[in-house]
Amino acid sequence: MGTSRNVERRTILKVAGGAAATLGLATTTACGGDSGSGDGNVTLRYAWWGGEPRTIAMKKAIAVFEKKYPKIKIKPEFTDYAAFWEKFQTQASGGNPPDVFQNAVGFLRKYDKRGVLMDLKSQADSGNLDLKNFRNGVLANGQVDGKQLGIPVGANTMALVIDLNAFKKAGVEAKMGWTWDEYFDALQTIQDKLKIAGDTGYFSIMYLYDLYLRQNGKAFFTDSDLGFTEDDLTQWWSDGYKRVKAGLVADPKKIEQVQPKSGLSAGLAAGEFTWDNFSIRYEGEGESDYGLAPIPTTNGKDTGQYLGSLMLSAFSGSKHPKEAAQFISFMVHDPEVGKIMGYDRGILSTTEQYDAFVPTDDQNKGVKAYEEEVAKAGVLGKITPHPSGADVVETAFLRIGGEVAQGKTKPADAAKALFSEAKAAFAG
């Protein structure tokens, strides 16, 4: 070798330094969760799921907050729904979830059981969070076992979204208090007259089946289990499959292929059950006019409906519980934020925000009118519990319902499979 000893030694030192730097880098990234800084400023991580319009609005709302609380900085994180919970689960298990995050009723018990959620009552007691002025008792949606684990930002209820033109052409009227028989007759009329299906696949929507069960004195979940029998579900899925075969419900193969577009806006069917605040998407996606119709009933009166809601929760281990509570309080009460967010996450839950936002477009007006009508009809009940594992059961319900619709699984076997998967989910 032609190199001198000195040079060689220096090279070795450099290499050693490089390796140490690599390892050092790994350690610093591993503990990158600290967000405070010396000058009294605090940074909160805030995560939500949703589409682009929500993100644009959310960033505007954050800017309003940061202006009023110059010492608190908000670092946004956002993805779509499915990716959100996969990411959240990984972050939370590593002890590094966001300080404040969007939440839903199906996840409350699950993450409470794992010690991730802050009980916001103490923050309310110390004056950092205002629990007053919530409409229609919706605050209760965020309570589990006497703890306030989530603060509702909006309230929404299940609805039937219909293609107004199709219903008109077929001469079918969707009226308050109509029964399931009348609904299925309507699907038949639509098929006879327009040669299209009337529904995109009602029987694999867990929240709709919940309403049906509630109409019959049961519910999808109890505190820790399923609130119905295998026979109930076998019946529900057998009827559903029959209607797919008869063409009253759209061909699942076609529904699958237009995703992520909905079967309704793709023109594959004349109606679809979903949450009322989702109805805003159809105008943008489809070519017809869409409206909200009442949920069919069993007895001509009770729809089984309740106000569900998206909420904001905080991480129990957050280093800045006070600021997190202040941020949540601001996001649910500030009138300006209400104006910016509109009904994107349901009808605004506090009176301050509800009064501040006056919808001017037809879809938002429609959602408001629908919920007022439902509230006036006096059919709204209390939300039923969602045990830990409810999210996994919902996914399984959708998937197995899809297998039934495709004719790949017999309804009785499907019901059995759901019960077995639910058992595992509740145990996990």
């Binding site: 290499v15 690599t22 689960q89 193969k253 237009v258 297998e403 996990g428």
Partner: protein
């Protein structure tokens, strides 16, 4: 660090007569080598070996990421073998491997035979055929595939011209797996390049001799080309089957992250992912992962055993 101490000791034993200065130089060289490798070694230990050992442990536990893993022995494996969805995922994966691998290799070999001929512009063709392999793993191609094979899309319309009407492959549980197979076949570039290299190695004089003896092109292919490239063929079969067992991205994207419809694209890794990251059953997912490792090892072993019967190495011929 024991590695560093031991490594120079061995050559020292063998060449005890070597001068002390040379030994020192060699040792210094070894240390430098290990230092250069250390980022890689650290990465391997921290990012590969560590997680692998951890997952082997988790395979015998119930672990939901939040509460500490609880030892359950062989429970995960027992539940797994009885789980109808796991059985379905094995079925779907085997179907994919058995159909996709031979078709892909057949096409790769066919195109390689064409591209091995001396023609003008061959370089361009080779690049063009290899291109899909470069972008094949990307998510965007999955979306393109979804668009191509959907209802009323180009594949569906073309089929209808020939009087076949299945209404798009993506939503149909009976056909969607073949859309994945088609995507795999389309990425035949990598095995093709390897075949091409193999074909270049076949001595021309063999063909010349065969031609003089009156052998036609088919006979030349069967009796010269195929035996001569059989080591390359073996390598490709091995590599492609292992790849096929691990298919994930295309199934996940084409099925809109659902591995469906009706679990028709529930390939093994897709179910593993669902169990681990959606349902937080890391113990079960780890058990699945190690079962896959063992299964792939078995398949590899069988292929190695079978090569004695059909792979011809030149040394053996001599």
């Amino acid at each position: 660090m024991t590695l560093v101490k031991e490594a120079p000791a061995r050559p020292a034993k063998k060449r005890s007569a070597a001068p002390a200065a040379g030994r020192r130089g060699r040792r210094r060289e070894n240390i430098a080598g290990y230092l250069f490798m250390s980022p890689w070694i650290a990465g391997f230990l921290v990012l590969t070996a560590g997680p692998m050992i951890a997952s082997l442990y988790y395979a015998f536990t119930r672990y939901n990421l939040f509460t500490p893993p609880e030892w359950v022995g062989l429970d995960n494996f027992q539940t797994m073998f009885q789980d109808p969805r796991w059985q379905k995922s094995v079925e779907v994966t085997l179907k994919y491997v058995v159909v996709a691998t031979p078709l892909k290799l057949l096409l790769a070999l066919g195109v390689a035979l064409l591209l091995a001929q001396k023609r003008s512009g061959q370089g361009l063709y080779r690049a063009a055929f290899y291109m899909p392999s470069l972008i094949g793993a990307s998510v965007s191609v999955g979306f393109v595939w979804r668009a191509l094979f959907s209802d009323d899309a180009i594949v569906d319309r073309t089929q209808k011209i020939f009087g076949v009407d299945v209404g798009g492959w993506i939503g149909n549980p009976d056909y969607v797996i073949y859309a994945l197979v088609a995507l795999s076949i389309w990425q035949f570039g990598a095995p093709m390049v390897i075949f091409l290299a193999g074909l270049k190695q076949v001595p021309q004089e063999l063909y010349e001799a065969a031609e003089m003896d009156g052998a036609g092109p088919l006979r030349r292919f069967w009796n010269i080309t195929l035996p001569m490239i059989s080591p390359v063929l073996f390598f490709n079969v091995l590599l492609e089957s292992i790849h096929a067992f691990q298919v994930f991205g295309s199934a996940y994207v084409v099925s809109n992250t659902q591995c469906g419809p009706a679990d028709a694209t529930l390939v093994y890794t897709c179910y593993l992912y669902q169990k681990g990251f959606k349902e937080a059953q890391m113990g079960f997912a780890s058990a699945m992962a190690w079962t896959l490792v063992v299964a792939v090892a078995l398949v590899t072993a069988v292929l190695f055993w079978s090569q004695k019967k059909w792979v011809h190495y030149e040394e053996a011929a001599k």
